[in-house]
């Protein structure tokens, strides 16, 4: 348990993704089986115990500590597992007993009757130190919250084992904890475990941005085009009783979209865009979709207000048959046939866009003004479905960005490498005599420009609110964004999609920045 506890602690405090990968890789390299496998299961939330409810843990603590002192402490710390871990009175008579190992905890809990669980936990709390207690309580309540997604854990495994993360994903769904055969493969002691037939994540095929100068070299006849919809890319995997929705990075988001999962009564793996509907087959602004993201559970009201559906792009598996080796147009035909036969509700097909030469396609792209369209996708008609981002077969051709001259209003310090820089900028436009914030951007500038922006912020601070500084209304930022939507979350009533700093207008006086009416006119649909 100690090594696992040390890992959990280190992960809690490690701000950077690469640092987390390094900590995980070091842990997998230096921890034996089956300890590391159970830790991996806990990190990927494959290992879940339902017996230990927060109320039961509170009760354990209440029996050991004055309830008033516990309440004051919990109020101060704010996290139940941490409060109990810190406040648990250590028993000197148990100081020399050996704390349990992680496999011992897992095996014992799995074999235990429900009624025995809390007694076991109490005994372990007495022999562990505060880090160990914290790790144990997080483990048995089922949410570690150490900033490690399943995908990040797999990335760390792949880097450490020097294999492709796509290869690892392929076999992942056939594996069970404590993953002894997986570690044997990663250490070069065995072949890769066989891919199972579960509803596991298959790595997505991604595209490169199309540069205008690339076009001359491309043959329009070799490509098919389709719209790029402004939602989130997902994979639907339904095998037998198992139904999963994965994000682009392989995170399981099924819990947030029961309205889609309900209709996945088929056996296939599909690629598509998750959208929110408004009216008859119309795509709602991205803002509406955001109401559905990053939620573990959804309310009936949200489901009704922001109904989700999926616009299908591709088919990877039809039943047991792996279609990824087929050319794009053949897969497309299979997708259409499959769709005709199954007719799944809450799903439709993303249409192909016929075109005659690049100029015609360019005109189509510029003519598309609906907010739901981000641009066009170009796919080589003969391209297989391969994991990752190969250069050549798929291109995304985004619509030209909109721009606006805004005034810098607030700056906030960044995180990690940028923790000493004011690097997150809130900007606004004029409404009458006052500035109203319209968005926030934290990229689009070079490191050298960041230094200058940081200096400007420090020299023009009017007020400080903790990590945030309000600055004099004097610096104009030309901001680029993909689209703008009505929003009741902002004072200005508008929200930008994907804003970034396009240019810093050191030359332009703040008074000459754009007005809110200009932005309002850019709202479409």
């Amino acid at each position: 348990m100690n090594r696992f506890a040390t890992l959990i602690d280190a992960l809690v405090f490690m701000p950077s993704r690469n640092g987390k990968i390094r900590l995980l890789a070091d842990f997998f390299a230096t921890t034996p089986d089956p300890d590391r496998g159970w830790a991996l299961a806990a990190l990927t939330e494959t290992l879940v115990f339902h017996e230990a409810k927060p109320a039961a843990i509170r009760q354990l603590a209440a029996a050991r500590v004055d309830p008033e002192l516990f309440a004051l402490s919990y109020d101060y710390v704010g996290d139940l597992a941490e409060t109990v871990a810190l406040i648990w009175p250590e028993r000197p008579d148990r100081a020399n007993s050996l704390p349990p190992t992680l496999p011992e905890v897992v095996d014992t809990l799995r074999a235990a009757k429900r009624s025995q669980v809390m007694e076991l936990v109490e005994g372990w709390l007495d022999t562990l130190d505060s880090s160990g207690r914290f790790a144990l309580l997080k483990l048995i309540t089922g949410s570690l919250r150490v900033g490690v997604s399943a995908r990040l854990a797999k990335t760390a495994l792949a880097e450490w084992g020097k294999v492709d993360v796509g290869d690892l994903e392929e076999c992942w769904h056939g594996l069970t904890p404590p993953y002894v055969d997986l570690f044997a493969w990663l250490e070069g002691r065995a072949e890769r475990p066989a891919a199972g037939h579960g509803a596991g994540f298959r790595p997505l095929m991604l595209s490169h941005p199309l540069e205008e100068e690339d076009m001359a070299a491309l043959d329009p006849a070799a490509y098919s085009a389709e719209w790029k919809w402004d939602g989130i890319r997902v994979q639907l995997a339904a095998r037998g009783a198992e139904r999963r929705i994965y994000s682009r990075t392989g995170d399981d988001v099924s819990g947030a979209f029961p309205d889609i999962v309900d209709h996945m009564s088929f056996d296939a793996v599909l690629d598509g865009e998750l959208l929110v509907a408004r009216g008859e087959g119309e795509v709602a602004p991205f803002n509406d979709l955001q109401q559905r993201l990053n939620r573990k559970a959804v309310t009936a009201k949200t489901l009704q207000e922001f109904p989700a559906w999926v616009r299908l792009y591709d088919i990877l598996f039809d039943g047991e048959e792996d279609l990824r080796g087929l050319p794009f147009l053949e897969r497309r035909a299979r997708l259409e046939r499959w769709y005709e036969a199954v007719r799944p509700r809450r799903m439709d097909l993303s249409p192909l866009v016929p075109f005659d030469g690049w100029d015609a396609l360019k005109a189509l792209r510029e003519g598309a003004r609906e907010n739901s369209i981000e641009g066009l996708m170009l796919k080589r008609s003969d391209s297989n479905y391969v994991a990752g981002r190969p250069k050549g077969p798929w291109f995304k051709w985004k619509r030209g960005a909109l721009t606006l001259d805004t005034v810098l209003m607030y700056a906030q310090r960044g995180h990690g490498k940028r923790s000493s820089y004011y690097s997150d900028f809130t900007f606004g436009v004029w409404r009458g005599e006052e500035l109203v914030p319209v968005g926030k951007a934290y990229f689009g500038f070079t490191d050298a420009e960041l230094l200058e922006l940081d200096r400007w912020v420090r020299n023009h601070t009017v007020r400080k609110y903790g990590p945030v500084r309000e600055v004099k209304a004097g610096l104009v930022l030309e901001v680029a964004f993909d689209s703008v939507h009505p929003s009741n979350r902002h004072k200005s009533g508008l929200a930008m999609r994907f804003p970034r700093v396009h240019r810093i207008r050191w030359d332009k006086p703040g008074a000459e920045a754009d007005r809110l009416e200009t932005l309002q006119k850019m709202v479409v649909g």
């Binding site: 809690v12 640092g19 004055d66 008033e68 402490s73 704010g78 996290d79 810190l86 406040i87």
Partner: protein
């Protein structure tokens, strides 16, 4: 004895203890800026505290300064005043007041751990004990300080190419961390932020060996790679720290015990090293001084008041504003 806007007032002696505003006559427990404020007409404190005040406040250190060694008694008005070691920082003292046959002790800030840089806390049995409560919640239990320094040295072994910057209070924590490192066998030069240098020199003048110290301010970037750097808490994540390449940010403070607090400050390596008593030490001290009445000041008063009441001690919270949290 009463609480005024100026602070704690000892009426029969006509003086204040650690007053918040400039007063005629003040007794100062220790040199931290929230206790030793400028501009008093007459100041009584230990020689260590007076030296610190002169360095930090210059002219503001007090019109007349009267040193009083630990253990010596002096009479002010109708009150006998004695200073007893508090173990907080160099020169830190508890104020022992005797008047009309009863004894009141004002603890000031204190700790019970061994610290090479100051005299150890001396429990003084009394009738009223006025205690600090910075870490007055049972979640605060400081682990052994050498284990925490061990964590730092271990991290330096794992990441030898990264410099380690530790946020420390300039007065007390800085010198304590240095002596702990030296005790743990770390004998390489330690680099200091400019704001930490004067107090270190002052400590050395009081005979506290700190080993080789170098200014981090003029050190070349290359030299700081893999080095150990100490800086005030506010500097570790600000512009000053940019001279360090990919530093491991550590912080030495009792608050580091609570993970979320450490995370909020962007600390990668929290070191639970405090110059205040933890919960067990606060309650142990109440037992040792055996005062039938306890007043609790600056910190989380509620829990300690509750604890005392449970044990049949008359306890109340003194609302003294103006004291800062450690490391804030």
């Amino acid at each position: 004895m009463k609480v005024c806007p100026e602070g704690l007032y000892v009426e029969p002696g006509g003086f204040y203890v650690d007053p918040l505003r400039a007063v005629e006559r003040a007794v100062i427990t220790h040199g931290h800026s929230d206790h030793a404020r400028p501009g008093h007409r007459h100041v009584l404190a230990t020689p260590g505290t007076l030296a610190i005040m002169r360095q930090r406040l210059g002219e503001g250190a007090g019109g007349s300064q009267q040193p009083l060694e630990y253990g010596e008694a002096i009479r002010i008005g109708d009150v006998t005043v004695r200073l007893a070691p508090a173990g907080h920082v160099l020169g830190s003292a508890q104020v022992v007041l005797e008047y009309a046959g009863s004894r009141v002790v004002v603890s000031g800030d204190y700790k019970r751990r061994f610290d090479r840089t100051c005299a150890p806390f001396e429990p003084v049995p009394c009738d009223v004990f006025i205690t600090e409560a910075t870490f007055g919640l049972p979640v605060f239990r400081h682990p052994p300080d050498l284990d925490e320094v061990g964590k730092l040295l271990h991290s330096m072994a794992i990441f030898p190419e990264r410099s380690h910057v530790v946020g420390v209070y300039a007065l007390g924590k800085c010198q304590r961390v240095i002596t702990l490192l030296r005790a743990a066998g770390y004998d390489r030069p330690i680099y200091l932020h400019g704001a930490l240098e004067p107090i270190c020199t002052l400590y050395e003048g009081f005979g506290i060996a700190l080993g080789e110290l170098r200014p981090a301010t003029v050190a070349v970037k290359e030299e700081l790679k893999g080095a150990l750097v100490l800086a005030p808490p506010g500097a570790v994540a600000d512009r000053w720290a940019r001279r360090l390449t990919d530093p491991v940010v550590a912080m030495a403070s009792g608050w580091m015990r609570v993970r979320q607090r450490a995370r909020q400050r962007g600390v990668e390596l929290p070191l639970i090293i405090s110059d205040h008593a933890d919960w067990d030490e606060l309650t142990q001290t109440l037992d040792e001084v055996a005062a039938p009445e306890v007043w609790v000041t600056h910190g989380r008063e509620e829990a300690l008041v509750h604890h005392s009441t449970q044990r049949g001690i008359r306890a109340r919270a003194l609302a003294l504003v103006g004291f800062e949290e450690e490391g804030a």
